[in-house]
Amino acid sequence: MFRIIKETHIDFIGQRKKAFLFSSILVTLGLFAFVMILLDKANMGIDFAGGTMIQGSFEQAINVSQLRNAVNAGGFPEASIQRVDRHDSPNSYIIRVKETVSGGEKAIDKLQRIIAEAFVGNKFTKDSEHTIGPAVGESLKRSARWAILISVLGMIIYIGLRFDFRSGVAATIATFHDVLAVLGIFYLFDKEITLLVVTALLTLAGYSLTDTVVVYDRIRENLRKFRKKGEFVSTVNRSINEVLSRTIMTSITVMTVVVILFLFGGEVLRDFALAMIMGVVIGTYSSIFVASPIVIEWEAHSPRRFK
């Protein structure tokens, strides 16, 4: 038998105070980011906020700051410029601006004009363009809200059917914790919130809940065996240790694929993969250090199972 994790007896529960502190910081950050999104003050992608994206390649290598200066001076001070890895054209860039129209001109035409003027003799070939009017952004926001609402409802219903009240609340908290943490980190690093990032957040909510489910299942199973007073904490701890190798193994496989997606999947999927990577790390952490300790604390304050 080949084992990464030998039989463990780690006192995870004993670390809960530190974990709660750490998690509170993450969740606060996430809540702040959430409020900023609601107030329209977050860095929303052009799919939500409306705007223009152009991707293309230069014939010869360019100086990025020259491109940035030209675009900024040309009337787009908040443009985002990103280099793209492409095997067939090494000098590919993506430019995103929040405008669809600038100075009475379509932003897409203006950008191309600016680039042509700034790089005379170095042809820029457009590979892709995307213009999204604010009205479309609004409807995308609406559908994203619905998708979030439906998944949250679905998960809560599922949790309600599947767990007792306390575990259900704890599982819900742990899931929100993960999503908020990733959202918070994205906000902190001024990453764009795009439709794909929202998709990743919802996916990792499902993933993290799964992790919690596995731990809780084991706790429930073990509680049948150990029903003596004072054994609740040790049973929980023991259960976490028992499923630890599964938790780590699954995290490793999922982590492997999302890291590969991050490295090889290209620009389109990079932020999606990044959110998933963070989600896997935080989800694994929370299923061990957050979900079960909440139940423990609850039990300690108002004992129910072992009176």
Partner: protein
């Protein structure tokens, strides 16, 4: 065992069904460009036929144009609004059909939007023309040269007065300063004159433009460079204006004071496209009589042709009432120019030589290409849109970008698959290898189902498949960890395997339900590419319940007496 055979039969049937579902896709995906060419040579259309049967690729992988239109119902009569969107869809469908794009998607979204997907089509400007043009064809008379000049003079004086009034306020118009600012062309020197026109000059107009606006003829000075020149000779009916000056003139024309001096029955209109005169791009500005003399409806036999100077034309025929009224119009205006107006832009304004009864010709103006003529032919054939449309989203994905994405998706999938394969194989030994077989089945069935159901594969869809690779082995990990524990507690191999599968089953189903909830919500509300993600994740996870649990157990059960287990 009876149950054993049954499982094998079911799996066998699944494999056959999967093969059938995936066959065309597999065939098409393994064709090289040369193969496709050969197929086309042997039997034209056969490669396309196969492509149609293969798994559909989203625009992000195939390249193409995605446009969302808003039908501007508010701009038409109340009574016509009811079915305007449906009629617009019909017209757009006809137009797209003429372009020969295969498998376009044209559908209604909400109550005033239309989604148009043109796979494989990447000429953005062309698409915009064909889809977004209202294509309202009107024939209008041109204002006489005397009247036009009168109006232009009035505009000159109005703008000059407005200009002077503001310059007076700011008190900065000493001649030497002006000269300086024209000469320097630096934004600082232009400041004084620039803020005068700040209300209608865009922020990036050069200082020189701002300065030049002063004087007695702020408007007509832009028309003058081309007037009375032998090589242009276009004093009338259309005044030439350099492309860079056009915006400035538009802004002057939009000033409320200027609008007041233009009579109600007169309108200014620009030519459809630029042409080249005196080595620069120029547009023509026409002064038209607003009244529509003839509405371009009921045109018959619309075809591309050639005019007397070998320029492109779009020819049509008229009959009955239309022919009679067109004949009246042309008969009454011989030797006068007639403006051919499409969507408020003047295509051209040829002189009427003689009375035209039933045969019309639209001369393509400017530097029109054969493509422009074809576009016009298409939109006239398909008819005008019932209401103007506004393009509210446009996404153009070039074919090279699509193939680059496919490459990246393929590389990620293969690397991901190999990594997970090796990891599981090394960690769980032969049992891990069995899980790998299950994983292969999972991917195979997933592709087969997506191809069979006619689902569209998108880039996020590929991400969904890759995620499936990572998530679906979770079931096996749960089972194997359980088996290890059972073995550890001293059970026999057989009993451990059975217990491992039985005990992990509930947790496995549980753990998949949450992913399915997310996938379902994303499917319901996601747009194109996101929907692709939801579809592949949903099916991937669903199938993994079968492949990771049933198929792997089946393989374990092939051998009866286990003494040891490689796990």
């Amino acid at each position: 065992m009876k149950g054993q055979t049954w499982r094998f039969v079911v799996t066998g049937i699944f494999i056959v069904l999967g093969m059938i579902g995936f066959w065309n896709t597999l065939q098409y995906w393994t064709l090289s460009a040369g193969d496709k060419q050969k197929m086309e040579e042997l039997k034209p259309g056969s490669a396309q036929e196969l492509e149609r049967k293969a798994m559909r690729l989203g625009l992000d992988l195939k390249g193409g144009i995605h446009v969302v239109l808003r039908v501007e119902k508010e701009k038409i009569e109340q009574s016509a609004r009811g079915d305007a969107v449906d009629r617009a869809i019909q017209v757009i469908r006809n137009r797209v059909d003429f372009t020969g794009v295969t498998e376009p998607v044209i559908q209604k979204q909400g109550d005033d939007r239309i989604i148009v997907d043109l796979p494989g089509y990447t000429d953005a400007a062309q698409a915009e023309n064909i889809i977004g043009q209202t294509a309202q064809l009107e024939f209008k008379l041109i204002e006489s040269q005397e009247n036009a000049n009168l109006i232009l003079k009035k505009i000159d004086s109005i703008v000059a007065i407005a200009n002077k009034a503001k310059t007076g306020e700011t008190g900065a118009s000493r001649p030497e300063e002006k000269a300086e600012s024209i000469a320097k062309d630096s934004s600082k020197a232009g400041d004084t004159t620039k803020d005068v026109f700040a209300d209608f000059l865009s922020e990036d107009s050069s200082a020189a433009e701002g300065a030049i606006l002063e004087g007695e003829t702020p408007f007509t000075q832009f028309l003058e460079p081309f007037l009375n020149r032998p090589e242009t000779n276009t004093q009338w009916p259309g005044y030439m204006v350099a492309e860079r000056d056009r915006r400035l003139l538009e802004k002057m024309l939009a000033m409320p004071e200027v609008k007041r001096v233009i009579p109600d029955d007169v309108q200014f209109a620009w030519s459809t496209r630029a042409e080249i005169a005196s080595a620069q791009n120029v547009y023509r500005l026409y002064v038209l009589k607003s009244k529509v003399q003839f509405l371009g409806k009921n045109l018959e036999r619309i075809n591309i042709g050639k005019g007397q100077f070998q320029e492109h034309t779009v020819d049509f025929r008229l009959s009955g009432q239309s022919a009679a009224s067109f004949a009246r119009l042309t008969g009454a205006n011989i030797d006068k120019p007639l403006a051919i107006v499409i969507d408020n832009k003047v295509e051209s304004a040829p002189f009427i030589n003689s009375k035209i009864r039933n045969e019309g010709q639209i001369t393509m103006g400017g530097s029109a290409t054969i493509k422009d003529a074809q576009n016009l032919e298409i939109v006239l054939k398909a008819g005008a849109l019932p209401a103007p449309v506004e393009i509210i989203e446009k996404n153009v994905i070039g074919p090279t970008l699509g193939s680059d994405s496919i490459r990246k998706g393929l590389v990620s999938s293969i690397v991901g698959l190999i990594a997970v394969f090796l990891f599981v194989g090394i960690y769980y030994r032969i049992s891990g290898f069995i899980a790998d077989i299950g994983l292969l089945f999972n991917i195979f069935f997933l592709l087969a189902i997506m191809a069979g159901l006619g689902a569209t594969l998108t880039m996020p869809g590929i991400a969904g498949i890759i995620l499936t690779i990572g998530i679906s082995v979770d079931s096996n990990i749960l089972i194997f960890e359980r088996i290890r524990e059972e073995l550890h507690s001293g059970k026999t191999v057989r009993a451990s395997i059975d217990a491992g599968y039985n005990r992990a089953l509930l947790t496995i189903i549980d753990s998949h339900v949450t992913t399915l909830i997310t996938a379902g919500a994303l499917f319901l509300f996601g747009s194109g590419p996101i929907k692709g993600f939801a579809v592949s994740l949903f099916w991937g996870v669903t199938i993994s319940l079968y492949t990771a649990v049933v198929v792997t157990k089946m393989i374990f059960d092939i051998r009866k007496g286990y003494k040891t287990l490689s796990i």
